[in-house]
Symmetry: C2
Amino acid sequence: MQAPLKPLLKALKGESGNAVPIWLMRQAGRYLPEYRELRSRAGGFLELCFDPALAAEATLQPLRRFGLDAAIIFSDILVIPHALGRKVGFASGEGPFVEPLADEASVERLRRDRLHEELAPIYEVIDRVAGLLPHGTSLIGFAGAPWTVASYMVEGGTARDFAVIKGWAYRNPEAFERLLAVLVEATAAYLVRQVEHGAEVLQIFESWAGALAEREFQQWSIEPVKGIVARVRKSCPDVPIIGFPRGAGYGCLRFAGETAVNGIGLDPSIPLAWAAHEMQHRCTLQGNLDPVLLLVGGEPMKREAVRILSVWGKGPFIFNLGHGVLPTTPPEHVAALVEIVRNWQCDPADAAQSQT
Amino acid sequence: MQAPLKPLLKALKGESGNAVPIWLMRQAGRYLPEYRELRSRAGGFLELCFDPALAAEATLQPLRRFGLDAAIIFSDILVIPHALGRKVGFASGEGPFVEPLADEASVERLRRDRLHEELAPIYEVIDRVAGLLPHGTSLIGFAGAPWTVASYMVEGGTARDFAVIKGWAYRNPEAFERLLAVLVEATAAYLVRQVEHGAEVLQIFESWAGALAEREFQQWSIEPVKGIVARVRKSCPDVPIIGFPRGAGYGCLRFAGETAVNGIGLDPSIPLAWAAHEMQHRCTLQGNLDPVLLLVGGEPMKREAVRILSVWGKGPFIFNLGHGVLPTTPPEHVAALVEIVRNWQCDPADAAQSQT
């Protein structure tokens, strides 16, 4: 007899009418005192990601406090450039640094033969966490989408106006397409390996979708992600994939349709009724509480959370933020949010009333 | 006998089938060597804005090089916080600094009685420029929208995650609404005065529309801008107003409809066919070439410019970028872009062919 499906997996299979699962982007991290303590024991941020014991502990910390439906591997999207041989650093207070690709020729010199060797510590984190998950909790693996990761690799860090990478892309489209292709291949291989080690769901972060014009979005975001999804599906046809094209606006509709992801992460700007009407019949929605409201807490948070639940809650739906937890968020607000989502599941009629 | 209407004004009256007018956001600025020379003569950036002779010269510089259809007053949206008594600074290399409002009570202490006195140098810039405009060129005045300006005043500069201002807005909605109301009043008075001095068109920049969730956008962006438009129309019913809700996605449709602006600035993410279909029959479109393509120049720029012209060019339409000119843009690319727009006007059939 098979064990009953976990809540997150049920939602991603498109089942509706169930309890609404909840997890939060950046649920492990600086807003938790126990994380800050852990962080102080590691050298740098990347050292923490690559230390299997510490990264597994960071992954599990939020689960001990809150009744969340998923753990997401404590890691970063920039482990891929690192594994491809680029220097990656995280200076505190500043954004990340990635040794920028000096020219188009440097794409060919990316080190592609040591990928899994470099990423082995992350696979070990998954091994460790998979054995320690609370009952009913799913394990999420993830990676950055090629456009987003490429922007760090070409700009050398967080892009300001994307002039360097777009300049590349327009002046030398072949080299740029080549870079995207290398990233598609490496990312798909990385995600498949995460599944082999115990990831039950995968999320692909397209954090900089909002920087792309209509045709660029199609060519540089949708097409590469479609390629990754197709490759992963070949090896792991049953593992659900969530895409998160942050800032894509209504472009998320096309993104969801063309990449054929099972779930679509929606940022706080996405209108609820529109997404319910246009997307929820064919794709599981995930999102989209403004992280600032989690920071604020209290009635404003509750009002908006209940509004989201009342429009999307009949499912298929996964409650989440529209972006990551902010570092100054009080942990008790997270506990209160989980409580709101659980209460709504018990008696949606009551919760809907508190909207007014 | 009246003089024939200038091309920009024609387009903003909703006339289509005319030559497409062109101007560029930040057409005056650092990418021009003659501007850099001027800038080196002024103390700080704000000193330049408040020096009528220098600011008038900066306004006129791009018109001497390129056959543009409009001049936009060389100024900044942060002159309003300055006029309300807040310290404003622009350190080179960093974003702007605005002495942050310490608490909600400080809204009441904003100095509202010296507005026009503080802004007098800008009115003088308009006086000077109005007399020196090339034939057929329109003069655009502008201001920031209240949400965008408030974000600088509360966050103390360019916001990162808007946690401070949204925290305010949710914890003390009355004080925040009061701040928006003060800004609506000051901004409307400022814009009306710009018209009295010679501005023929007004643009309202909502640069941070993209940070707002659905209901926030309605309440903090659309409503205040609607208030400004209504006030300005009372004094100057015939002066066309362009709204630019950058990053609003499809929200620009509601923004245009509810604020009743005459023209809507569209950022590069807005799909062309959608905007043509949904908005162009009732609002003049303006935009939306990616500034990076102006920086790149050559065929990639031409291809996209012609694509925009082929979808929106029948009008009513004003060619522009989807955001400001980047400082590293070669001036000759601007000349080439103007040439493309002019040529398209001469023979749209030819230009449309070069799309393929």
